[in-house]
């Protein structure tokens, strides 16, 4: 049994890796074509405000330096072979290797996203259960109303509201920036970081609750009307025991999987929350790269976000494979009997 499970997982991961590779190649190619098509001038992005002082000669030199004067396909080949050897190029606005920028920003973002991920998961799951256990009552209707309204709420507007209330009116939090301005990096305390993390994380959690809650509610209602719960009731089980033995067991797995599969929305939400609170994470870097035409950074971020989303999906699939007995253990017993 054991080795068979391991074998299954290995083949599963192998196929996933191949699929990931094919998607990444396609994403790189399409993204590259797209950014090359852009009317935004990459040289201006590099030079910045001094553009007026740049002569035609200097311009050509820069073009040559970045390889911008070559045909698009050739540029793609040289970029992609560099990427394959681990070199994502140099960010034009940060003047640092793209991998370094992404690495540093990712650490900031992962702090933000993981707090929001855990919070929204736990809260969403709980209120989903609460709603399903009280189907049709005012509690259920309120939770449903709240979730549907949240699903229609612009993330950045929620961020602005929190900013108005907590940072402007109550003065509990700083208005922006991941760390206090004018303080040296080594002087930044953990408390400072946490203080700057709370509002964006709260924004993401408030919005992220809706999906899990509605899904859990739906699933639990389904489970509660399923044959096996009917039978459990027929055997006299009721109340919390019934919920614990037959409800929770069957809804926890889908909820956890859903949270992992929602990495894509999480990333998108982080882009907006980081922009509102000027939190120096990946999302803010993406917006900067897009606004200022930093092509190497933008491409690197697109690839990175795709890997991020993919990892979430693979974890979700893996959890099913390892935890759910229907996929974990084959039918082999029944055959033996």
């Amino acid at each position: 049994m054991r080795w068979q499970l391991t074998w299954n997982i290995v083949t599963f991961l192998f196929w996933k890796a191949i699929k990931m590779a094919s998607l990444l190649v396609a994403i790189s190619f399409i993204s590259f074509l797209l950014v090359k098509n852009s009317p935004i001038d990459p040289i201006q992005a590099y030079v910045g405000a001094d553009m007026l002082n740049v002569s035609q000669e200097q311009r050509e030199k820069i073009e040559e330096y970045w390889g911008l004067n070559q045909p698009v396909m050739e540029q793609f080949m040289s970029w992609s072979s560099a990427v394959l050897s681990g070199d994502l190029g140099t960010s034009m606005i940060f003047r640092l290797p793209v991998s370094e920028v992404i690495g540093e920003r990712f650490l900031n973002s992962i702090a933000l996203m993981s707090v929001a991920w855990v919070l929204s998961g736990v809260i969403g799951f709980s209120i989903g259960i609460l709603a399903a256990m009280n189907t049709g009552t005012w509690i259920d209707r309120m939770i449903k109303w709240y979730c549907y309204t949240l699903a229609s709420t612009p993330t950045f507007w929620m961020g602005l509201l929190l900013l108005i209330v907590f940072a402007v009116w109550l003065n509990w939090f700083p208005v922006g920036m991941g760390v206090p301005a004018g303080v040296l990096a080594e002087d930044v305390t953990i408390m400072d970081r946490i203080k700057h993390l709370i509002l964006p994380a709260l924004t993401l959690s408030i919005i992220g609750v809706a999906n899990v809650a509605l899904h859990t509610r739906q699933k639990l209602i389904e489970v509660l009307s399923s044959d096996y719960v009917v039978f459990a009731r027929a055997r006299g089980e009721k109340g919390f025991t019934l919920f614990w033995r037959h409800g929770l067991r069957n809804i926890a797995l889908p909820a956890i999987t859903l949270q992992f599969a929602a990495f894509s929305e999480l990333f998108g939400g982080a882009v907006l929350a980081e922009q509102v609170f000027s939190y120096p994470g990946l999302g803010q870097a993406t917006v900067e790269a897009g606004l200022r035409g930093d092509i190497p950074l933008l491409l690197g971020l697109v690839l990175f976000s795709a890997i991020f989303v993919f990892v979430g999906n693979v974890i979700a699939d893996l959890i099913y494979r390892v935890v759910d007995p229907r996929t974990r253990e084959g039918k082999s017993y029944a055959v033996k009997q």
Partner: protein, 263 residues
Amino acid sequence: MSILKVNNLSVSFKQYTSGLRQTTHQVISNLNIELVSGEILAVVGASGSGKSLLAHAILGILPLNAETSGQITYDGEVLTSKRQEQLRGKEIALVPQSVSYLNPLMRVGSQVRSSVRKRNAKQAQEEVFQRYHLKKEVGNMYPFQLSGGMARRVLVSTAMVSGASVIIADEPTPGLDKVVIEEALNNFREFADQGCAVMLISHDIESALKIADKVAVFYEGTVLEVAPVEDFEGKGDRLRHPYTQALWRALPQNDFTWIEGSI
């Protein structure tokens, strides 16, 4: 001695039909039956005619959009929904149709153990598995790993360990081979011989006749007639209702005559 009585039971559901109209759909109307300790009452009728709902109504586990009227008494006492909640699993046990009535994520042994009321759960489960020729490992399996016959025996085990005095078996035989059907039916006969009252809900009149004491004929949401099993013989002249006679004559070993439309 009559232990469970159903008087004038009606069950209906609210439903949306085509367009914007809402209708009430009556599934069971003015139904009367009576279960006697030590006897098997077979409730026979076409598949999908609402027989299972009768079982669910007795246990008080109908879906929320169902409405019921009428009266059910257990041991002379009127069954309120509160009383039903206390009795189900303890005095009245259900043997459901299929493996989908077992929690797919729970090992079957532990599901059987949860039905035990009066004794050591582990011991009771092991004994009942032995009695029904289920190997020890079966207790550690998940429902999807069971074969049809094994699932059947596991479901019967849950009723067996509960020590209930009324057993309601809902379609215990569909999709099983002859040997397994025989075995399942014999299990119910054993229950009755131990002094339980058994209600066997089935569309298979032929096999029901083999073990039942009385047969209730279910048609269009109600019971047309309750006849002792001896009346089902010859041309069925002792059967009172024309539908019952037709049902009897339609069996292959009899005339195999066509049941004419409705009555």
